[in-house]
């Protein structure tokens, strides 16, 4: 190969080391998620692990838009919510069956496709800023609809429903000889395990699809559109058609993630799906992880979720430990966790301007 002809290239070596670190960390995260029920058996950790799985898909599909294609959209949670509400309404209306999940999920995905095509065709021709505004408007309308059409959506309270029997904590996946729930490595093999692996495997499949897309020739075209849309058009790519297609693909994947999320949570409401705070979280996760890297989504999501869920605990412990020192315990009070989260973001952006994965792999640097 030609690269053996180059004797030694320090930046390339550093990028190779960086890539090994990034993929190593992502691999460890993957393994941790795969065995999460056994490694972290408590209820709260299970919740965080499932949330991480879902958000990896959500952030990675958003990276397909913003990082790979250069499309800024604020409607990603809208598609996520459509999938979730589709499943929630079907499970509530038809009872806890697999048919309800399939039907509700399909309806949610279909609604996402229709909306994405409409928004894409009508506004992906215009400047990026106008497109971003259109998506913001659409997402706001959808959030208002979800809270106002309370006969169907449960309004601000959302919808509570049951998941199929397989996922119920009372379900015994494995039984001992005397008919009790068997334990594997000290963990009960009940429906909660089934529910977690339903989430994990669905998310793994969706994340795999996203990775295949960005490594395909289509992925290269998307990057070309991000880099120089006029030139992409000039060499023969229909930029508007590609942008619309990728917007639809990302919408479908977000809707599927929403459907899985709805099955896991057994509750769907505006706060868990349409909320603008989630949209900002996804954006931050992608930026922190590294735009246009896919693997960055994994790292960004884990950092954000761990910070959101465990920073308070950590600070509580730190405040306790420093209670003898004058000012420190007040600074480390768990109520000030947002201050420290903010500081963490500033430091991350300062030291990793292209995101953690992006900076370490030297992707996106000039």
């Amino acid at each position: 190969m030609t690269d053996t002809a180059i004797p030694s290239n320090p930046p390339a070596d550093r990028a190779r080391t960086g890539r090994m670190i990034v993929y190593g960390v992502a691999g460890l995260i993957g393994l941790a998620l795969m065995f999460a029920p056994f490694l972290f058996p408590d209820v709260r950790s299970g919740q965080v692990a499932a949330r991480i799985c879902i958000f990896i898909v959500l952030a990675a599909s958003y990276d397909l838009l913003i990082g790979y294609t250069g499309i800024v959209s604020f409607a990603h949670t809208m598609f996520f919510g459509l999938g979730a509400y589709g499943v929630a309404m079907a499970l509530k209306g038809m009872g806890a069956t697999w048919g309800a999940i399939a039907l509700g999920g399909s309806a949610g995905v279909l609604a996402a496709i229709v909306l994405a095509v409409l928004i894409g065709v009508l506004s992906l021709r215009v400047k990026a800023i106008f497109f971003a505004m259109v998506t913001l408007a659409a997402a706001s309308v959808m959030a208002v609809l979800a809270s106002q059409l309370s006969d169907f959506t449960g309004g601000e309270d959302g919808i509570v429903y049951s998941a199929p029997k397989l996922f119920s904590p009372a379900t015994k996946l494995l039984t001992t000889d005397d008919g009790k729930v068997a334990k594997l490595l000290g963990v009960s093999m009940n429906g909660k395990i089934a529910a977690y692996y339903f989430v994990f495997l669905s998310c793994l499949a969706l994340f795999y699809v996203l990775n295949r897309i960005v490594r395909s020739p289509l992925g290269t075209v998307l990057e070309a559109i991000r880099e120089n849309d006029l030139r992409a058009e000039a060499i023969g790519y229909r930029v508007v058609a590609y942008r619309t297609s990728v917007f639809v693909i990302a919408a479908v994947i977000a809707a599927l993630a929403g459907a899985v999320w709805a099955v896991w949570l057994r509750y769907t409401g505006p706060e868990t799906t349409f909320s603008f705070a989630i949209m900002i979280d996804i954006l931050l996760m992608v930026v922190i992880g590294g735009m246009g890297t896919m693997v960055g989504a994994v790292i960004g999501v884990v950092i954000m979720n761990l910070a959101q869920f465990y920073l308070k605990d950590l600070m509580g412990a730190a405040a306790e430990a420093t209670s003898a020192v004058p000012v420190l315990p007040q600074l480390l009070d768990p109520d000030r966790w947002l201050l420290w989260l903010g500081l963490l973001f500033i430091l991350l952006v300062y030291f990793f301007p292209a995101g953690i994965a992006g900076t370490l792999m030297k992707k996106g640097s000039h």
Binding site: A5, R215, G219, A224, N228, A232, A234, I235, G236, R238
Partner: protein
């Protein structure tokens, strides 16, 4: 020439574009034939690049039309014109800066050849596309930098890449906008070699905007002169270069002195 019977591969009819009151290209009617290399000359601001933009579709004309092999393509998008075989290289280097050199070329190859239904296969597994891209890289002597991002190349190599991308599109009409601009004396010959190779491949139509007179003399079958957006001369190189009006506007020699 005896070519009156054949359909020109490219033709502009009364092509005009106005920006405000200013006609940047004004009523330009001109036909280009297969196997012919036409050099378009004219001072800065004469409308050469604007004329190119109208032909390749980056700009929409105020009036007039563009025909490719007799078919009106005025309403087609730039991508549809590219697919129809109209290839264009740009004056200002216009690459995909953060993609590798090979990816830049491969994009041009796959735009022409398509990648079919294998949506999810790895891009690198399309060996035919990759092989074609590598051939074009070698022709432009860029194979040693294939893995570098395009933005990391020196200016001369970026110009070569620009031309290699045009070749990779495999068009039947080639439009070069000052392909050797800013290149060093020892780099320019690679570009000229590539253009000569296209010329030798009969049946291709080449339009070339160029300032350097030695390049013009070496390559041109025909010279078209634009001045203030209007076509002022058109003919065989020796004839056109000898025209007093050309000497005046292009070489800055007043007509009476040249006479």
């Amino acid at each position: 020439m005896g070519q009156a019977m054949t359909t020109p591969s490219l033709e502009t009819r009364d092509l005009t574009i106005r920006f405000g009151g200013h006609a940047a290209v004004n009523n330009v009617s001109c036909a280009f034939n297969p196997g012919e290399l036409t050099v378009i000359v004219g001072p800065n601001g004469a409308g050469k690049t604007t004329y190119f933009n109208l032909i390749s579709g980056q700009l929409t004309p105020t009036a007039g039309s563009v025909l490719k092999s007799g078919k009106d393509i005025s309403s087609l998008s730039p991508s549809a014109r590219a697919k129809a075989g109209l290839g264009r290289a740009f004056q200002l280097t216009n690459l995909f800066p953060r993609l590798s050199v090979l990816e830049n070329i491969r994009l041009a190859v796959q735009a022409r050849r398509g990648f079919g239904p294998r949506l999810f296969a790895r891009a690198a597994s399309f060996t035919e596309l990759g092989d074609r891209a590598m051939e074009h890289l070698k022709a432009a002597r860029l194979e040693h930098v294939a893995a570098l991002p395009a933005a990391a190349l020196p200016h001369g190599d970026q110009r070569k890449l620009e031309v290699a991308m045009l070749l990779a599109m495999e068009p039947d009409i080639f439009m070069f906008d000052e392909p050797t601009a800013g290149m060093s004396v020892d780099e320019a010959p690679v570009i000229l070699e590539l253009i000569e190779a296209i010329k030798a491949d009969s049946g291709k139509t080449v339009l070339l905007v160029e300032h350097k007179m030695d390049v013009v003399r070496a390559l041109a079958d025909r010279i078209v002169v634009l001045h203030n957006g209007e076509l002022v001369a058109d003919g065989a190189p020796e004839e056109v270069i000898a025209l007093p009006i050309v000497r005046e506007i292009y070489l800055g020699i007043p007509a009476e002195d040249a006479a």
